[in-house]
Symmetry: C3
Subunit: 142 residues, 3 copies
């Protein structure tokens, strides 16, 4: 049984942004030496999330547009009302979307590689940037 | 390789409610003796879910308000129409929100502790209470 | 420590469809010989997902109706505009819903069985069919 953990940082540049982290995760899985098992990804945040989807910048714009249509940035939120003195904390939309998009994902590894499909990339979704975000990668297997 | 399983119950008091279960999960992880690995949480229900988010009661009200705006309690649901004789089963909203919020989460453990971020608490989201809910905790690692 | 991997295919018949795959997953878990641990399910797609919910065809219709109300098939999507020459690629709705519904789930196994609740079935949700879909099942435990 092998365990391998690494953490890396992602610096977002915009309030809402999608960042492809597939290659960085692939690097961790490669260094782990695990040929079969699972890789768990976790962002220790409540206003950024993870998704697995196509690497297509137009699609990412569509995705963010739908997200803020469903959960508007400028809604009537009690969380925001409480923090009116701190504009940086007016981020209820990001917390709520985190509950929908989720902060973690576990992917299978076989023959030393993540079993990502042809169109699957691993995406960090920033919902309240710009910020420095952390991704914890835990590889477990043999 | 160690395995440790525990189940605990949570009693919700309202139809829609958020209950912080972080300390109870932390207790299970502590008793497991696992210093690195994963903890998997699972609620064996279809009308209650899990989320990781901030411990902020105003935010929880915002979250529940958005959820029932997106998927209203009193919608035109075929599932509810079928169960009109059983008001307790008029819960299509809760089933549908379960598919969005999800019933499980897997968190990394390092140095004997869950790698939760500063603002991350583990929340059970009741969508069709009051009921007694079960949380299955499985810790796997070394 | 045991690992067991199997892949099976699911053929969807409609554009939007829910297919119950519980029995097929149960078969894999049985063949794995794992009595306690985790089973990870993964669909290597970006327009089909997994959910755990009740086996109720009326509910499935409700679920799909809500999903396309929230993220319409015929929206103004940049992803679709780019692919106007390829009607088969007009599937932004399916990509976006994938980010909400997710392509993976990890379930606990105890006493050789998945710890599914009474009303929990494992569902593949097709969002852009008809297509042949793949489900990768990884069982890890002892």
């Amino acid at each position: 049984m092998r365990f391998h953990e690494e953490t890396f940082e992602v610096e977002s540049k915009k309030r809402l942004e999608v960042v492809d982290i597939t290659e960085r995760v692939r690097g961790v899985v490669g260094r782990s030496g695990v040929t079969r098992g699972l890789v768990n990804l976790w962002v220790p945040h409540t206003t950024a999330c993870l998704s697995v989807n196509e690497h297509d910048e137009e699609l990412w714009e569509d995705l963010l547009a739908v997200m803020v249509r469903l959960v508007p940035l400028e809604g009537e939120y009690r969380h925001n009302a409480k923090y009116r003195w701190a504009p940086r904390e007016m981020n209820a939309h990001a917390h709520i979307l985190s509950t929908l998009i989720k902060q973690g994902v576990s992917l299978p590894i076989a023959e030393g590689r993540m079993r990502l499909g042809t169109w699957q990339s691993i995406l960090l979704i920033e919902l309240d940037g710009p910020r420095v975000r952390r991704v914890d990668v835990t590889v477990m297997g043999e």
